[in-house]
Symmetry: none
Subunit: 283 residues, 2 copies
């Protein structure tokens, strides 16, 4: 059982130069996007009131962690393939999908923290909310992974069972966030309200990608193809590009939204900065 | 169609040591220039009034992203060639031109943001202006790429069609920026006016390089040479050096101009610096 948890992707389908390069390039662009977002979020702490700086720091951490993982994912992709006869064939080295799960284990709970931090709910409420969200996020990822790595066509039922189990905390998180974001609208300044409504939508749309990708990657046909060493090239390419774009939106895009919410809620007065300098509130 | 989008440059012309090194060296110099500009722009945030700091942060991001991409472009250049018989011949690995497009996708919209941010227009006006500029920039790049990668001599007409389509948003952006910069002159302090006039000129001159390079790289002769596996060595070398110099001027040079404009508009009063020491406002 444990042995099978990390061998996902050891059979890589042959790819055309275009297919290989499309994935390679989207990984590189994701590294650039996440890294730039991290610098922006860290620098922008001084542009918001001190109480919103932790939210920006955490948002910066999320994209920093993602930048590192996409750098490693890209390396793993390069190692898994070699050029041969005008196309790309597997080298035998496994493409390490665990980087993405390691990333999610670290960043999904932090995404919950950055969102709750920027809403500035009452302390007791924030603690209770965060506890529930972080536990649910950990469960969601832990329950999804054993299903993700099943490559035996006989295991389709088991994969569906893990997927369903993982969906329970997934939908619980989306439900809690939707309800809480909607409730918080009343207490937010008007300038922040529209942004929080956008936030709700971005969450819903970007998060929807993950279960869809999970389901498409594990149909009985996909598993049978995997077992026969014929993983569909189109499926692999589509899955990797889809995850990368969803990650850019759900992490870098979401972080920039958190910055705009923090800006909209800041600036009612001149506040002293974290390092001792007076920071003018943005106009 | 899609298949052809990334194989540009897979046939690399033989180069002399001088030609290979000229491109290699200009890439290295661009990495150094962009990296230095990034550090300067990030550090200089504390030298300007707080409302101009986002403009410098964004300018710093642009050159950081460009620094990363030129580092990768240089690696790809090294991978695409090997020394043989006192000259350089292709290894079969494609020189990855997509890095440059990935760079433009990320940085051209940010260049619009840094310019609008330093002008400090009214909020409603800035939002409308930015929306139009960012959409036009995305269209310009998206429409240019399919033409850029056409290497079939029969495709010359199609390439021209993509080029013309891409030119519409290109000239729209230049027109809007020229008109807005000219209009903004009235509301800017005298010290900033000359700088903004320089800015207009720098934009016009550096941006002019891109369509010229695009046109020269796609003449029927150039396409025929490419199809016959005889990409003109002079063309490749000239194109890469031209793009690198234009990128240095349009990103690092432009960023430094943004800094001078921010300085000229700052400093109505003495502002304490980020590290606690009083920083004299620039005259």
């Amino acid at each position: 059982m444990l042995e099978s948890l990390l061998v996902l992707g050891s059979t890589m389908p042959d790819l055309s130069v275009f297919q290989y390069s499309a994935v390679d390039n989207i990984f590189s662009m994701t590294v650039a996007t996440m890294g730039a977002a991290a610098i922006f979020l860290f620098l922008s702490r001084s542009q918001v009131d001190p109480e919103y700086r932790p939210a920006l720091a955490i948002s910066g951490l999320v994209v920093t962690i993602a930048c590192y993982h996409y750098f490693m994912i890209r390396h793993s992709w390069n190692d898994a393939y070699m050029l041969s006869d005008g196309g790309y064939v597997g080298t035998g080295a496994a493409f390490n999908d665990f980087y993405r799960y390691a990333d999610w284990i670290l960043t999904v709970p932090l995404l919950m923290v950055e969102l709750v931090a920027v809403l500035r709910l009452q302390a007791a409420k924030a603690t209770s909310l965060l506890t529930r969200l972080v536990i649910a996020a950990a469960l969601m990822i832990a329950l999804g992974y054993p299903g993700e790595v099943i490559s035996d066509p006989e295991g389709w039922g088991t994969r569906v069972a893990w997927g369903v189990a993982s969906s329970v905390p997934f939908f619980y998180i989306l439900y809690v966030l939707w309800v809480e974001l909607t409730k918080s609208l009343e207490t937010q300044p008007p300038a922040a309200r529209t942004l929080i409504e956008v936030c709700r939508l971005v969450l819903l749309i970007t998060w929807a990608v993950y279960p869809i990708a999970y389901a498409l990657g594990g149909t009985p046909e996909a598993l049978a193809a995997k077992a026969g060493g014929e993983v569909g090239a189109g499926g692999v390419v589509g899955l990797q590009i889809g995850y990368a774009i969803a990650d850019m939106a759900a992490k870098a895009g979401f972080g920039v939204l958190i910055y705009f919410i923090a800006r909209a809620k800041s600036g009612k007065s001149v506040v002293p900065g974290a390092t001792g300098e007076p920071v003018m509130a943005p106009a």
